[in-house]
């Protein structure tokens, strides 16, 4: 079964790279470049996995995660957070907010593929 991934990331080149490697791995990747409207998009798509960057324009990744966890419809969705190295406190906050996995930038493509497979049961 094709895993549907919603990628919320404001860096277009990172989005392209992730979209490429996950698509080659059999995922159906939809991308959003802004935090605004992300929660509505998740509710509409109900993907198998949300990959969420921490630092987003508009609404922060942490706030989006909190909203997803507060909503009974989306609270069980697997969420992988993308964080930059050195953002230890943000990571702790995301952990408390209920993120399922963290990927620190810069990440390797193999790490990304393995994490997505693990979270989507692929």
């Amino acid at each position: 079964m094709t895993a549907r991934v919603l990628l919320i990331e404001d860096e277009p080149n990172i989005t392209e790279a992730i979209r490429f490697i996950l698509s080659r791995d059999g995922c159906d990747v939809t991308a959003l470049a802004d935090g605004a409207g992300a929660v509505a998009a998740v509710r509409a798509e109900m993907p198998d996995l949300v990959i969420l960057d921490l630092m987003l324009p508009g609404v922060s990744g942490l706030e989006i995660l909190a909203q997803l966890r507060a909503d009974p419809v989306t609270q069980g969705l697997p969420v992988m957070m993308l964080t930059a190295k050195g953002q230890g406190r943000d990571r702790e906050a995301a952990e408390r907010a209920g993120a399922n996995h963290f990927m620190t930038k810069p990440f390797s493509n193999d790490e990304m593929r393995a994490a997505v497979r693990a979270l989507t049961g692929g």
Partner: protein
């Protein structure tokens, strides 16, 4: 309580010996002139006997010096610094009971040790400041994020190009373009980051004292007076000095301090304050009533009046010391919390009720001080906002301020901070002292 009939300083003996030898006098001659036996003087000089105040006064007379100089010797500051150095060196148990002997016999090495302790504390603060900066500085955080994002894209894209043999030419061209963009972005971001980390702001912020210490150091260097405020352009001159402080935080703190000092000065100029003091009006509460000022403003004016012997500490509701003007014989903690027995903190719990106390700080000087403490509350956001409390404690040598004593002469034994306070049985102790084994 320390025995006021004897000098508690074992260093005194070393100082007597040092003074005698410097004058080229024989032990027997000095002893005879002071009315004691040579063998007793020998014991005193080798710090094996405490010397009574009367004998000390006679010895001081023979040696042509002041007994206070012989009693206080190297000064409490150096001793306190050595204690603090001992407190911050885990795993080592220096001979604390011989600390004064050490300072007396090897004043140069003691000063080196104290200086090293200061330097270590300064570096620890610098590390803390850098760590804090990495965590909280929004500019640095954004710069790092920019670099790491570009790096993430480069790493991922380069791996795609290296690992994917059958990549579509259109995708290949797109990824090449992305790589070029991101490498440019990475270079620019890295240059900006290096420039920022190498900039003067960072250099001074990282290496120097805490901002409050910078401001206090500046005030100390000017003798804790701001007489320029009496001149037309005085505020500009002082602001220019503050503008030369090392860190941005210290400059900001210093500017706030000056604005408040100027406001205080306008309400109660030096001349008016001196006139009142000469007329015997030295009670801050009465001065405040007469001039329509907050009591804390009067206390600040009394402490910053040129030539003032008054020390002053101010704290906020958390007990954090916001301002420290020291006075000889009353050690103020450089780091960490102060002695909880300070009347300042009693005042903090009951706003607008004055607390007058006679205190004796732990240490070698045996001096007593009259402290006048009071807490004022502010409502900067009105009824709907938080109540901000600020307490001040004016510290006056006992001989300077002899107001009516509601405590009936009771002396409150206090310290500087627990870690270096020798009062072993203090009921307010919150942590062991490095001086636990040394008698007061």
């Amino acid at each position: 309580m320390p025995n006021s009939q004897t000098s508690s300083a074992s260093l005194t003996g070393s100082l007597i010996r040092e003074r005698r030898l410097a004058l080229g006098l024989r032990q027997g001659d000095v002893a005879q002139a002071a009315g004691i036996s040579a063998s007793y003087l020998n014991l005193i000089e080798h710090n094996r006997r405490r010397v009574g105040t009367e004998v000390l006064a006679r010895l001081a007379g023979v040696l042509g010096t002041d007994s206070a100089i012989l009693a206080e010797g190297a000064g409490g500051v150096l001793i306190d610094d050595l204690r603090a150095a001992a407190a911050t060196t885990p795993g080592v148990q220096p001979e604390l009971d011989r600390i004064e002997d050490f300072a007396g016999r090897f004043p140069g090495w003691a000063a080196v040790l104290a200086a090293q302790h200061h330097r270590a504390a300064q570096l620890e603060r610098a590390v803390g400041a850098l760590n804090d900066r990495l965590t909280h500085d929004p500019h640095l955080s954004a710069s790092l994020h920019e670099v790491l994002s570009a790096l993430a894209s480069v790493r991922s894209t380069a791996a795609i190009l290296a690992d994917t043999d059958d990549i579509d030419p259109e995708w290949r061209a797109r990824f090449h373009r992305n790589l070029h963009q991101d490498s440019e972005r990475l270079a620019t971001g890295a240059e900006a980051l290096v420039a920022y980390l190498d900039g003067p702001e960072t250099a001074v912020d990282a290496g120097l004292a805490a901002p409050q210490e910078e401001v206090e150091s500046w005030l100390s260097a000017r003798g804790w007076q701001l007489s320029e405020l009496a001149r037309q352009e005085g505020m500009d001159l002082l602001m220019a000095e503050v503008g030369g402080l090392a860190s941005a935080a210290a400059r900001s703190l210093g500017a706030s301090f000056l604005r408040q000092a100027e406001a205080d000065f306008r309400l109660l100029p030096d001349a008016a304050l001196r006139h009142a003091l000469e007329a015997g009006e030295d009670d801050p509460c009465l001065l405040a009533q007469r001039h329509g000022l907050p009591v804390l403003a009067v206390m600040r004016r009394l402490a910053l009046l040129p030539g003032s012997q008054a020390g002053l500490v101010i704290c906020d509701a958390s007990g954090t010391l916001l301002f420290r003007k020291p006075v000889d014989g009353f050690a103020l903690p450089r780091f960490g919390a102060a002695c909880p027995l300070w009347p300042l903190f009693a005042a903090l719990t009951r706003p607008m009720l004055p607390v007058l106390a006679l205190v004796e700080p732990a240490g070698r000087s045996l001096r007593k001080f009259r402290t006048l403490s009071i807490c004022e509350a502010r409502l900067p956001q009105g009824f709907a906002g938080p109540v901000l409390r600020e307490a001040a404690m004016l510290i006056l040598p006992e001989e300077v301020y002899r107001a009516a004593d509601p405590g009936h002469g009771a002396v409150l034994a206090i310290g500087s901070s627990c870690r270096i306070c020798p009062r072993a049985r203090c009921p307010a102790r919150r942590e062991p002292s490095v001086m636990a084994e040394a008698a007061v």
